[in-house]
Symmetry: C2
């Protein structure tokens, strides 16, 4: 089974120019080139194109895509990673939908929309932030840690995180005090959760910097739009911050 350049382009929703471009830069060579110079693509080439288009959709540059495809030993692993990336993208879009809904509701009810919630779901790279706050090494360590996990472990971690967040939101909605026993036990769980990440002061047993970090995280949940909407709304984030501050002051 073989396709000409136009057939493949039409089916993939791109132009033949793009395929020629990919050939020129060595990203996707046709499986066969006729004596007349015509390009022909077989199933393997189509599979490679699928992966290229997937990564391109996720915003990767063509050179980065070429690297990934070159380094790849197991196609199955690559596909699994792609599914994970797509699921993350879907979740990000879900957050954006919620964010726009918030803006819309605020606008309709006459309330002033809040900047933090409005911009939730747009930022992707924590990288620079982590580096500037905790140093390059911290980023390296936590990044290696994350990518050293299996996909199942990554899923488990995400589930843990979601459970924790859900518990926080429920507590905030219940109207209990941030200094209540329940809230403080959540804060303790939060700190344990944080301490699982190597490279953080808490994981390294640095008490001084641990306290500072826990307080800082609390502040970020409120102030940093990167976390906006994570704890449902501003009240939720404030609740988490207050609970964490209290915990850092009294229990650490």
């Amino acid at each position: 089974m073989e396709w000409t350049i136009q057939e493949l382009a039409a089916r993939a929703g791109i132009t033949s120019r793009t395929l020629r471009h990919y050939d020129r830069i060595g990203l996707l060579a046709p499986s066969r080139v006729g004596a007349n110079g015509y390009r022909y693509y077989n199933l393997a080439a189509v599979a490679r194109l699928q992966r290229i288009l997937l990564m391109r959709r996720l915003g990767m540059g063509l050179s980065a895509i070429a690297e990934v495809l070159a380094d790849e030993v197991d196609t199955c692993d690559g596909l699994r990673a792609h599914i994970a990336a797509l699921e993350e993208e879907r979740d990000r879009i879900e957050r954006q939908i919620r964010s726009v809904r918030h803006t819309l509701e605020a606008l309709q009810s006459g309330a002033e929309p809040r900047m933090d919630v409005m911009l939730a779901g747009f930022n992707d790279g924590y990288k620079d932030e982590v580096i500037s706050r905790w140093g390059e090494r911290a980023f390296q360590v936590s990044n290696d840690w994350w990518h050293g996990k299996s996909l199942d472990q990554q899923r488990a971690w995400k589930q843990d995180t979601e459970d924790l967040v859900a518990a926080w939101v429920a507590a905030a909605k219940a109207g209990v005090s941030p200094t209540s026993e329940h809230a403080q036990s959540l804060a303790a769980r939060h700190v344990r959760w944080l301490s699982q990440i190597p490279g953080t002061p808490t994981a390294e047993g640095d008490r001084e910097r641990s306290i500072e970090m826990v307080k800082c995280m609390g502040d970020m949940y409120v102030d940093d739009p990167r976390f906006a909407g994570m704890y449902d709304d501003a009240a939720g984030a404030t609740f988490v911050r207050d609970a964490l501050h209290a915990y850092a002051r009294t229990q650490m």
Copy 2:
């Protein structure tokens, strides 16, 4: 409440250069410019930026974005349209996830992955296809028809379509014959569904071309990757095609 260029950039996950670029091209002016030439952004500017980033994520060019924002009378309508667009994007990603899963499973089970399913979820523009097959006018008419609908009507139409597809898939899975009474009643429903779209031969009462179109649609469900995965798998699409062909031969 006002932010400097860096503050806004950091929070939106872009660079200050990008904001300056948007100012230069007239896409997003700062709400205030200090005597020192510094740019300051207020909430309204942030809201506009939110919409710009939303549209940019959906692949629109900056000039197209500017047009949309200029033409817009009601911000709420714009936001609602955005939510709809984001939901579609999310659905598309869902389809891609299923498509990649299919490729992965085929690879693991040793089966050869199928090109049509592999490329499902990549094409977006039916436009050229519609024009080349049914003429520019057909596209204009059906496009006007679609955009003349309210959001509620659009949702209802999508629901109808999904119901129809689900019925087809269930019938195919049940193992009944494409010429069975049940399949033929589904085919009749399918033709009625098609005839709702103005500009199509069926809607215009052109019997000859109607038959041709129904057959052609059936073929496309099988051969055209644009519809790949719509009826679950190749067996589903084949079932629909056979049922439609039989209906076109005997009932129209």
